[in-house]
């Protein structure tokens, strides 16, 4: 049992934990720039008009998904320090996380399929979802500058 305690002792793995403050701030800047870029895209889409807004929105969502995964990578790799751990440890985290690929694909596909089936066979639902409602003014525009 003494060996086990020796391993758990803090200095046993000190040599792999060299904290590089420059790297931390660089990671912070990367995360900040990605987020600002995402906002610029979202606001740009909101301000501009397109001939095919649905297609542009779909492309934009793809870009957002990729940028989000990039941010997740930087947080896990640098802030959570996983990139600097031993390979076996990285694999016990990364391999189970691959389940998300199936998880996401299967469920979104299912949702989309349900929508299509319902629109095809439930005409009432389709008609109901096409009725426009009176556009209500948002409450805060009635009370400009009011604090809630």
């Amino acid at each position: 049992m003494e060996n086990v305690h020796a391993v758990a002792a803090p200095h046993a793995h000190d040599e792999q934990h060299t904290f590089d403050r420059k790297l931390i701030w660089r990671t912070f800047r990367v995360l900040l720039y990605i987020t600002l870029f995402e906002l610029a895209l979202a606001i740009g889409y909101y301000e501009m008009t397109f001939s095919n807004p649905t297609l542009v929105k779909h492309l934009l969502n793809g870009v957002f998904a990729i940028l989000t995964l990039a941010k997740a990578f930087f947080i896990i790799a640098e802030f959570m320090h996983l990139r600097h751990e031993i390979r076996n440890l990285i694999m016990t985290i990364a391999v189970p996380a691959l389940l998300f690929i199936w998880f996401l694909t299967a469920f979104l596909w299912d949702g989309n399929s349900y929508k299509n089936l319902r629109n095809t066979y439930d005409r009432h639902h389709l008609e109901q979802s096409q009725i426009k409602v009176e556009k209500k003014e948002a409450p805060e525009s009635e009370e400009p500058g009011k604090l809630h």
Binding site: N3, V7, A8, A9, P10, H11, A12, D14, Q16, F19, R21, I24, W25, F28, L32, T35, E38, L39, A42, I43, Y46, F64, T68, A72, I75, I76, E78, F79, M80, R83, H84, E85, I86, R87, N88, L89, T92, P96, A97, F100, F103, F107, L108, D110, G111, K115, R118, Q128, S129, Q130, I131, K132, V133, A138, P139, E140, S141, P144, G145, L147
Partner: protein, 224 residues
């Protein structure tokens, strides 16, 4: 980079840790894996419902207000501030972990203190946003926002929004509580007596995970 294992050294023959991390830290990683799947299940069920709907409310319309200034007509400004606060508090947490490695008690206290401030600031922002949406008539079971194509929306949007941001906010809250406990333990010199600051690392992993989840919540609710 990943640590290379010497070729003729058997990592699994006992007597040493094959992962070169302390037991508690490894278990924190596995807990976070399970928590990631919990959040994943929430967000993917949101995605499934959204994919099965013909239309959905427009986030640029819903999230466009900023406290004090009122309606700014700059969509997403307030949530950007919340995101910035959370990323910033993640940086201060890394710096606290780094200071812990150098057994620098004062720096640990300083950076942990800033992390707690960041967490409380985020929670305050979220409390404001929830209150604001509540006053606009949004709550579980109530959705005042029409779909982006002008059709009548269901309550799915608000139900998912409050459930998922609420669950995330609960994680932030428990993270702040954990950080406060770490702060008190550091202040009392518990880790100096113990000879290491590994507890700060475990609290740090949890805190970064909260930041990580927010990255996905931000994309799913405010950008998509």
């Amino acid at each position: 980079m990943a640590q290379a294992v010497p070729v003729n050294q058997n990592m699994w023959s006992g007597g040493k840790s094959p992962f070169k991390v302390e037991y508690g830290k490894l278990m924190m990683w596995y807990f976070l894996m399970s928590d990631a799947f919990t959040f994943g299940a929430f967000l993917i069920s949101y995605g499934t419902i959204r994919f099965s709907s013909n239309s959905w409310p427009d986030p640029n319309h819903v999230f466009r207000t900023f406290p004090i200034i009122g309606e700014m007509h700059i969509p997403l400004a307030f949530v950007s501030l919340m995101t910035f606060i959370l990323i910033m508090s993640s940086v201060t947490m890394v710096l606290a972990v780094g200071a812990g490695h150098e057994m620098d008690r004062k720096s640990v206290l300083k950076w942990l203190g800033w992390t707690i401030v960041g967490g409380l600031a985020f929670l305050s922002c979220q409390a404001w946003e929830w209150t604001h949406l509540y006053h606009e008539g949004a709550w579980w079971g109530h959705n005042p926002f029409p779909n982006i194509d002008g059709s009548q929306s269901s309550t799915n949007f608000t139900n998912f929004f409050f459930t998922i941001t609420g669950f995330h906010g609960f994680h932030v809250f428990s993270g702040v509580v954990i950080n406060i406990i770490m702060f008190i333990m550091t202040w009392r010199g518990v880790f100096d007596q113990r000879g290491h600051y590994l507890m700060i690392e475990k609290a740090g992993l949890y805190w970064h995970f909260v930041d990580l989840v927010w990255v996905f919540v931000f994309t799913c609710f405010y950008l998509f």
